[in-house]
Assembly symmetry: D2
Homo-oligomer: 269 residues x 4
């Protein structure tokens, strides 16, 4: 008689400890997200879905969190769809006596953009680690995150050496935070573009020799410390996406050291 199985999660709890985030982590799920150029892009996402839990309830019903996602299976995901999903999740747990304003979702995925090589015009796809994050906690926020592979040419090495300069792959991270009521769409594509233009050079899937020459020369005409990359991103955000909270970092896998160079900052553009 399944109906009679005890509901242990619903037991009263007497320890007097409210939990800020309870739920599931590391859930893989395939879905379609909005793509500025192609309408939709299918991705394989990793999710954390978490809700706040009153001090008097023993456990959250975790299967509901996964079920919510299953119900959305065929739908497109833009940021607004994620907000709706999260509100549904929160409401479902509300039936269990938990207040509305505490719920959190985070998804990360590899997002592909087709790039065109500078000289041969060869097309290829470049993968970017991206993500969305939403919190309904009063007042809540919604975030877009991009991690962008770029190259950095060391300005010091270039200045002091008779020939060349050490350079390397680096990762630029940009995270924006908006109020839930802010209706602007922050496009993944725009943040990636800003990151790529702020570094010494950008990466491509396919480069012919003519392209490699152009990419190398562009890199060397724009040497940049990690400090420079982060500052260039901030300057670009101030001019192109005004009045938005940002967190920016750059980590450079130095070719002359076993460790990395690192810079970060945050602010409002």
């Amino acid at each position: 008689m399944p109906k009679k199985l005890p509901d242990v999660q619903n037991h009263q709890d007497s320890r007097g400890v409210e939990l800020e985030k309870v739920g599931i982590s590391n859930l893989s799920y395939p879905l379609k997200i909005r793509d500025r150029n192609n309408g939709l892009q299918q991705v394989t996402a990793k999710f954390d879905i978490l809700v706040g839990l009153h001090s008097h309830q023993r456990g959250a019903h975790l299967s509901h969190l996964v079920s919510a996602l299953v119900r959305y299976k065929i739908k497109t995901f833009g940021m607004d769809d994620l907000v709706s999903l999260l509100k549904d999740i929160r409401k479902k747990q509300d039936g269990e006596g938990i207040p509305f304003d505490s719920a959190f979702i985070k998804m990360s995925f590899i997002y592909f953009i087709e790039k065109v090589a500078p000289e041969s015009k060869s097309k290829s796809l470049v993968p970017y680690d991206c993500g969305f994050e939403i919190s309904l906690n009063n007042p809540g926020y919604k975030s877009v995150i991009v991690n962008v592979p770029v190259s950095t040419v060391c300005p010091c090495s270039k200045e002091i050496s008779n020939e060349g300069a050490h350079n390397q792959r680096a990762t630029v991270t940009i995270k924006t935070n908006q109020k839930l009521s802010d209706k602007r769409i922050v496009w993944i594509e725009d943040l990636i573009r800003i990151a790529e233009e702020s570094a010494s050079g950008e990466v491509y899937g396919v480069l012919r020799r003519t392209d490699e020459k152009a990419v190398t020369e562009r890199m060397f005409s724009q040497p940049a410390f990690v400090e420079d990359v982060v500052r260039n991103v901030v300057v670009a955000l101030r001019s192109r996406i005004k009045n938005i909270e940002y967190f920016v970092k750059c980590e450079s896998f130095e070719s002359i050291h076993p460790h990395n160079a690192y810079a970060e900052t945050s602010g409002i553009s």
Copy 2:
């Protein structure tokens, strides 16, 4: 004048060292692969694409390896399509004087299968790390790889304890190798099923309480060491996929230890 750029890779090499595998690794690419139940499934794959290199040539043309994949962008990938792709890649490098029979491709991806909970019949997707591998080296082979999350209940702990038994998540890996001329399709779905039936229990995305009861009781009715799981897989392969080379391993994330339990074996079914 791009045409006049020197082709450094084509230089003669005098060190007298033949290279077994040269190419690109860790390339992300989205593509559709064959799905037994739904026809096609889009995945985000990671690729290594490598070719042998004669001792007299300095370098391989790596951009050709990526271009080959780009040309296949819109096509379906089954094992045979991968073999064709790899032969194309090999032929392209052959123009550069390298013999036909040395080329290698490996792809890995998360593959989703919809599973039905045993009692509530709730449907949910379970992600599996899967892969294909092909070598054209004489005589060459083609491989299917699945990594399957399962649960293992310790038979010793169950036998000696007054109540319960330690159990945990474990991963079962099955890799099959076939000759290139072997026309049988080894389905990912079949290998996963064998792995799940060989363990104490299997995993689900969504389980209601009635399901959790059934899954727990099934686990405890079928306790299994990692040794048992590997042997069960071998026995199942012998009866269901005859005359195939296999490698099988099981790694169990012991809940009473900080380290893992491990077993592996190989053979022909």
Copy 3:
């Protein structure tokens, strides 16, 4: 003439962007840290060492950050030594016109504790991922972090099943934050003990059959959701380490799901 090499990092910067953290990340270094039972324990640590950078200076001198660590090579590291090291680092960069109160260090390492099996009294070492973190930013803080492998037996599964219950390995994280002026030593050993007692069971390197029986029965006498584990930790902190800021989380690698169960909270004990 090395002395005449230009100092590009010292150039004036006109972009008007202050950087919160600049430095090196992922630096490996061997050192001895304080061990409550044995005096000292040698570990292989990973470091991030970062300083704030005024808007008018182009770059930090990263080699100074590493040199600072090299000078400390032969010394013991307790939290206070790390605070001193960081103040030295900050002062060195101050010579370059950056204010005192912005510097940050984070180190993580595997720390071993000898444990005794409950029945056979067999001794073995258990590894724990631990770390320290210090910020000199006004007012600054110093943190101890432990990540502790434990086991969790699902209370719901135990209640509803005729036999057994699913259980699994889980990780409990406790992070404490103190003011720099707080002279109390928060021992890694105490935080680990709290985490282990708050879960269903703890892990050991070596267990004989008599031990395995005892450990299994203890686990089943104390079933715990991730919610329970986090609350038990908070209750223990309130009674044993009073008046300290804490962050606590538990992530459980569910043996019946491909995803994890998760809970976190924070507060002052």
Copy 4:
């Protein structure tokens, strides 16, 4: 009455499946290994310890594998000590009716070497991922493995560009295999040196500006594809460590691509 607890692992097995490797994986353990310059170096190692299992026995006694390591706690580890340890482990399981010649151990650890900057003579430590591997299977082998961070300057990019050349961090792996009866010591230090000299440049913990100039100019005077690096290693092995089986690979984290360049080969020097 602990003595009466049933020994489930010792049960007869009737499935007729011999297991090649059974044991524990991912075991962390601190120990001292031989250091050519300093006598001993303490490391935090990860171990896999595995034995073969007859088709008629249900399970191996995994706690014995860990106990064997515990007994060696205070001893120095060179390759010969590892061989002895493994023979002890095998003998202990022999009492359980398993033949002598099937046992396997693998350990990996971060090993530090002090390096001197080329101009300023500043000293700093560089971390290298290293390992040992031993198999007693007839005829058995013993292996030394080093993974060495280096830099590679692209010869093609340098040749075709008006200025500079893309370069990046790369990893060179060298693995040697010897017969158990081969008494030569293959020093980690020698393999690392070969890897560093075979690339465009090597990495350092601390570099002053004069050093950075020297390191950059050295890199650009010795451009190398991954193919070149692997061939240079083979040529060096042939002249410096004769008549040894080797596996060599180089993976380069290309600064102009999101994927890596890769080359590998194997042979006898």
